[in-house]
């Protein structure tokens, strides 16, 4: 393996963790990472959370210190865009025409924010998505320059809500416009939506639901955001958080099999034997839930990275993970484990000594699918163990908040 070249397209959580894992697994040849983002690869989740809420941040949270790329002999080609993959000649072409040969190629292109086709969105002032370091700089600069600091966030998902909490901390007046009849509609049960609606209300953020934005008008440097119920909201700054589009174009043009993402097997291999794909851009098999899924998460990025590295170095490993996620808003920590899709029963526990310590347990019949835990690390960790072990839960005991959370508390007799 000493003279072989591994090329990685995309240098964020998946690509970077892959590169370091590949070295650790014993790959002695070249490892070259390309990414159009010019920054040394950084942790993305903190951007909308802690990072955005602090003025004059100087240091990004790096995935690995800069010198580690040198000591591990990993070449970072930042600010460079790959425009083509030729899988027959095993070459990639950069947008400047440069050609790079590979023996193994890893696609870790992730996703980009989806900008919905709202009338007037192209001409709106200070309108930004929230995914990259550059986005946080743009948002913070716009806040600084604005006297009124009126922020409208389009979309009440995690990005929208975290951004709302962070900008509130910076002194902005924040309104969130959600199209559905509750926030976090796509990802949580109504009980969680209620909890977060209340939390944001207590902190002075207006979460408005059933608000379908249809146009944005600009006049004198200010936006007017107009909804289909004829209400409108003035915004000095607009943040768009309505979901993502997977960066599939390179893989598509190359002729790899695509199905809601780049389709990979349990070793992260694509339909081409020399090309692997990892992270948000993949449509992969989850053996616990026995179905193909696409995930936007650090957990999946890092776990697939390790599987890809190990596989490329000749080991026999398979991806097998229970997904987990987290979100920080104000002083609340939300931790989620498992996938709730397909649930038909929900149990909410509000711990007796603390109403800010909650958990929502998602079941399909008797099978525990997922747990959302609010300020409740115990429920999160135990939930994860129960899901993984397919433990049978006594729902009557789980509902009973006089029973404290312990590994044996909710087991069936």
């Amino acid at each position: 393996m000493s003279n072989k070249t591994c090329v990685v397209i995309g240098a964020s959580h998946a690509g970077v963790n892959f590169a370091f894992s590949l070295r650790r697994e014993g790959w002695r040849g070249e490892i070259i990472l390309f990414d159009s983002d010019p920054e040394i690869p950084y942790h993305r989740p903190p951007l909308s959370k802690a990072y955005l809420s602090v003025e004059n941040n100087s240091e990004l949270d790096l995935l690995f210190p800069k010198q580690n790329y040198q000591t591990e002999n990993i070449t970072l080609r930042l600010g460079e865009t790959v425009s083509k993959i030729d899988k027959d000649s095993k070459e990639i072409t950069l947008s400047n025409g440069e050609i790079q040969f590979y023996d193994k190629l890893v696609i870790a292109t992730g996703a980009r924010p989806f900008i919905p086709p709202i009338k007037g969105i192209e001409t709106a002032v200070n309108l930004f998505p929230m995914r990259t370091f550059a986005d946080t700089v743009n948002i913070q600069n716009a806040i600084k320059k604005s006297n009124e600091k009126r922020v409208v966030i389009i979309g009440g998902g995690y990005i929208g809500l975290e951004t709302a909490a962070s900008l509130k901390k910076l002194g902005a007046k924040v309104i969130v416009l959600e199209r559905e009849n509750r926030v976090l509609e796509r990802v949580t049960a109504p009980q969680m939506s209620d909890f977060f609606s209340k939390l944001h209300g207590e902190n002075g953020v207006d979460l408005l639901t059933n608000k379908n934005v249809v146009s944005i008008k600009k006049s004198e440097g200010v936006n007017e955001v107009i909804c289909d119920d004829n209400t409108s909201y003035i915004a000095d700054l607009i943040v768009v958080g309505v979901g993502i589009k997977v960066n599939l174009e390179l893989a598509q043009k190359t002729g790899l099999v695509i199905e809601n993402g780049i389709k990979v097997d349990e070793t992260t291999k694509t339909s081409d034997e020399n090309i692997y794909a990892i992270g948000d851009c993949t449509y992969h098999f989850n053996s616990h839930y026995n179905r193909y899924i696409r995930l936007e998460s650090v957990q999946n990025a890092v776990d697939q990275a390790k599987v890809a590295a190990s596989t490329i170095c000749g080991n026999d490993v398979k991806y097998n993970a229970i997904p987990w996620f987290w979100s920080d808003q104000y002083n609340v920590k939300l931790q989620m484990v498992g996938l709730s899709q397909g649930y038909n029963d929900v149990i909410q526990r509000v711990e007796e000594d603390n109403e800010k310590c909650q958990s929502v347990w998602y079941f399909k019949d008797d099978e525990l699918l997922a747990v959302d835990a609010v300020n409740n690390g115990k429920a999160y960790v135990l939930g994860g163990r129960f899901i993984k072990g397919r433990t049978e839960i006594d729902k009557i005991k789980l509902r009973d908040t006089s029973i404290v959370i312990k590994p044996t508390s909710f087991l069936k007799d």
């Binding site: 370091f20 650790r24 942790h43 989740p45 903190p46 959370k49 802690a50 949270d61 690995f64 210190p65 580690n68 591990e72 650090v298 957990q299 890092v302 987990w324 987290w326 920080d328 920590k333 931790q335 300020n375 409740n376 690390g377 115990k378 999160y380 960790v381 135990l382 163990r385 312990k406 590994p407």
Partner: protein, 102 residues
């Protein structure tokens, strides 16, 4: 400055020096196997779990509530478990030995 020794699951012993930040970051910088710090150090993922050598427990101290909630039901918990992202690198830690849990 503090010298901190990590012992991995593969029984590799690595001693490193740190001056600032937290112990998880120091471990990641020094490629300590089994410490990932996937959440970036916000006590959300437990991928930086260590067992402190009992005789060094007093130097380190007990975990905070959020951290102990994450550790209590972890399958690898011991009486001297900590999440290394919640441990600040200070001179107090000089000479401690940490066994990587994963």
């Amino acid at each position: 400055m503090a010298k901190i020794t990590f012992v991995t699951q593969g029984n590799e012993t690595i001693t490193v020096e740190g001056t600032a930040g937290n112990v998880m970051e120091l471990a990641v910088q020094n490629k300590i196997k089994g410490i990932d710090g996937n959440c970036g150090g916000v006590c959300s993922c437990a991928t930086c779990h260590v067992h402190v050598e009992p005789e060094h427990w007093d130097k380190v101290g007990a975990p905070n509530t959020m951290e102990s909630d994450m550790l209590e039901f972890d399958e690898k918990v011991s009486d001297h478990s900590r999440l290394s992202c919640q441990m600040k690198v200070t001179e107090n830690l000089d000479g401690i030995v940490l066994k990587v849990a994963n």
